[in-house]
């Protein structure tokens, strides 16, 4: 980013934080974070490290694992269902993340105005987020039902032919994306709303003095100030989208014809349906490699934008 546009970004967050209380606050912070760190280590980090040796074995959970070297990894790259699951996952992330971010920001901007019934609207937007994935999945499965669902019913009333939604390989994943707009946009909205309210009013006043209102103010004050929030939302959405499991599990059982089988679903399936823990671990290792590479890339790109 060149100096010129830095000048145009009206957002400067360098404010004087008092350093005196930082250390005391840190001690207390460790106490608060401690239990979480312990549980993450025990139930995530340690199992994950163990997954690497397990991925070199054949193991049905019961009985002894037998060492097979890199066999699982070789099979992995020749297994069309794993490659399909990888593609399904990437396709989902590419559809879900940008759309969820735009919707979240849009709703946040709307709810940040002095709208009548704003408080109620805020509650309504966030409400779906607290619904359990099973409940959400079942509700949307009913609504998407191609023959008797409410969505096709109204589309047909409008003279449209409706869609196969969850029952067609070309629209099944998109249907899950749409259901997620309703279900999880509320989270992004809350985060963006907090971000919007953290933007100092003076910046807008200063911008207004310079004649910048409306779109120009949004482009040069709001968006730059939201950069850290946007980065956070992008990161969280990418990670959670990569882990898509509950929605296909409830709505499509990975079908039709495997079109909503994601990598996590495939891992679950290999481990607990096919009882091949070694193979499932190999997919997990591949999955982690893909996700880490992407997050690293993402943080580089976005960080260079923030600095």
């Amino acid at each position: 980013m060149d100096g010129q546009s830095t000048l145009h970004d009206g957002c400067d967050r360098r404010n004087g934080t008092s350093h005196r209380s930082v250390r005391r606050r840190n001690t207390w912070a460790y106490v608060m974070v401690g239990p979480y760190l312990v549980s993450v280590t025990l139930f995530f980090v340690v199992p994950f490290i163990l997954a690497v040796p397990v991925s070199l074995t054949n193991w049905s959970i019961i009985g002894r694992p037998s060492f097979v070297g890199l066999d699982n990894y070789i099979r992995l790259f020749n297994d069309s269902s794993v490659l399909q699951a990888l593609w399904n996952t990437v396709r989902y992330v590419l559809m879900q993340v940008p759309s969820l971010m735009v919707i979240g920001l849009g709703l946040a901007l709307l709810l940040n105005t002095r709208l009548k019934g704003r408080t109620l609207a805020r509650v309504v937007v966030v409400m779906p987020y607290v619904v359990n994935v099973v409940v959400m999945g079942i509700i949307w499965r009913w609504m998407f039902d191609p023959n008797f669902g409410i969505i096709n019913h109204y589309l047909r009333r409008l003279g449209l032919s409706g869609s196969w939604w969850l029952t067609d390989t070309s629209t099944s994943m998109l249907s899950i994306v749409i259901a997620n707009w309703w279900w999880s946009a509320g989270f992004n909205t809350v985060v963006y709303l907090a971000g919007l309210q953290g933007i100092p009013r003076e910046l807008y006043e200063a911008a207004a003095v310079d004649g910048a209102t409306g779109w120009v103010a949004f482009r040069h004050v709001t968006l730059p100030c939201l950069r850290p929030v946007t980065f956070y939302v992008l990161l969280m959405d990418t990670i959670t989208s990569f882990q898509l499991f509950g929605e296909p599990f409830v709505m499509t059982q990975g079908g039709p014809l495997g079109s909503t089988t994601t990598l996590t679903y495939k891992i679950y399936n290999s481990a607990f349906i096919e009882l091949k823990l070694g193979y499932a671990s190999a997919i997990s290792v591949l999955f982690l490699a893909v996700i880490s590479a992407l997050v690293l890339l993402q943080s580089r790109v976005v960080k260079s934008g923030i600095d």
């Binding site: 106490v31 039902d145 495997g258």
Partner: protein, 425 residues
């Protein structure tokens, strides 16, 4: 400030520690940890049995019930067994017995069953012998659930049909076509004669039923080889396909036939007795059951059993307590299980009783017991007879019913994949 924080932190930890230690408390009765995987609303009936048993044996035994989904139950069992934390008793499906007994998870129950006074001659032989794997008893059957035909009496009356289900292929097609109607006049049907799912396990259950009626199986007699690439399979699949696309008496890509049946937009479905409890509670639904029609030569319909199993490594005293509960359920609660949950009793005296004959909806199922077709017992059960998209049978039926693959290619591929799984032991 600092000290106050530290005191607070210690207090918090102390409360957490107290909370954890209180879980270690055990009472004097023998505790049996029981996993109930039965779906709603029948699961509640089993819970009532647990409560009744606990009251009856207060101080002696206590069944601690945990309800969970079937999928969770099966995967959790393996992990908890591995960790030495398995339950003492759990509900199980008959077709899973071969796989889990081969894995070495299940306790051989012959001695315990004899000690508890449960006698094989009191029970329907299909169910009793269906729970024996390789000469050993690994489960006690609770019920049987063959498919039968549910029909909507209101729609039947409107279409001028008799108050019974169709008996053969000719009648089935006639009924289905009369029931399929365009009531709104938009040129498209909004009421269908019959319905079944295009996805998951239902299509291959339908296929197994149809093949059974032709006297055929999908596996060789020794259960070692898949036999799918045959004219019989192709004919049966073609019939399933034609119901949707040629005769158009089944809604395309249906995923919830039970829901459609409850709403009165579908005249007939094939389903197990587990739906009785739900249909009975549906206001405005006037339905009855009828034996699965003979589409081909002989009677035959897919079915399964709920059973109770005890995992290995449970202490003898706990095993005996668990078996006391099993005996209570199968000996004393068979009728209630049928009456309240809709599942078919397997005790011969209950099946023959006047009391049971009063349960009108159950009779079609009872009549199917002698020609019910279990899934063939194979170790690879979960990989093949599941609703999962990786099952070769699911791939075959889905691709055919979505019109994505022609039938000859689909059966050939399914046979190859199925054989690869059977050979890859």
């Amino acid at each position: 400030m600092k000290r106050a924080h530290r005191v607070l932190a210690i207090l918090v930890l102390a409360v957490v520690a107290l909370g954890v230690s209180s879980n270690g408390y055990t009472a004097s009765p023998v505790v049996v940890r029981f996993w109930n995987g039965i779906g709603a609303p029948e699961a509640d009936v089993l819970s009532e049995f647990v409560k009744e048993f606990n009251q009856k044996h207060a101080g002696q035994y206590r069944i601690e019930e945990t309800m969970m989904k079937w999928d969770t139950l099966y995967s959790k069992l393996l992990i908890d067994f591995r960790a030495g934390n398995q339950p003492d008793l759990l509900t199980f499906h008959q077709p899973a017995l071969k796989q889990y007994s081969t894995l070495g998870v299940l306790q051989d129950l012959d001695a315990l069953v004899a000690k508890a006074g449960i006698k094989g001659e009191d029970y329907v032989s299909t169910a009793w012998s269906g729970t024996v794997v390789d000469g050993k008893r690994y489960a006690v059957p609770m019920d049987m659930h063959p498919w039968a035909l549910y029909y909507n009496r209101t729609l039947f009356k409107e279409a001028g049909l008799p108050d019974r289900g169709p008996v053969d292929m000719k009648e089935f097609m006639e009924f289905a076509q009369k029931l399929t109607k365009d009531t709104s006049g938009d040129g498209k049907p909004d009421q269908w004669g019959f319905s079944y799912e295009y996805n998951g396990a239902v299509p291959h259950r339908f296929l197994i039923s149809l093949l059974g009626q032709k006297g055929k199986r999908i596996l060789s007699d020794d259960n070692r080889r898949a036999v799918l690439d045959t004219d019989d399979t192709k004919e049966a699949l073609q019939f399933m396909y034609d119901l949707v696309y040629k005769y158009k008496v089944v809604p395309e890509r249906e995923t919830d036939p039970q829901g459609a049946f409850r709403r009165g937009v579908v005249g007939m479905i094939l389903d197990g007795p587990w739906s009785i409890a739900e249909f009975r509670g549906t206001a405005g639904l006037d339905y009855m059951t009828s034996p699965t029609p003979k589409f081909y030569g002989q009677a035959g319909t897919w079915g399964s059993s709920h059973t109770l199993v005890i995992p290995k490594n449970t202490k003898p005293a706990v095993q005996e307590a668990a078996m006391q509960f099993v005996a209570f359920v199968v000996k004393e609660k068979g009728f209630e299980w049928a009456q309240k949950a809709g599942h078919l009793p397997i005790r011969k005296d209950i099946l023959g009783s006047a009391e049971f004959k009063q349960l009108k909806e159950s009779q079609a199922f009872a009549g199917s017991l002698d020609h019910m077709i279990y899934y063939p017992p194979i170790v690879e059960y979960s990989r093949v007879f599941s609703h999962d998209p990786s099952s070769p049978l699911v791939k075959m039926t889905e691709s055919v019913l979505l019109g994505k693959t022609d039938i000859a290619a689909a059966v050939k591929r399914a046979q190859d994949e199925f054989n690869a799984i059977l050979g890859a032991k």
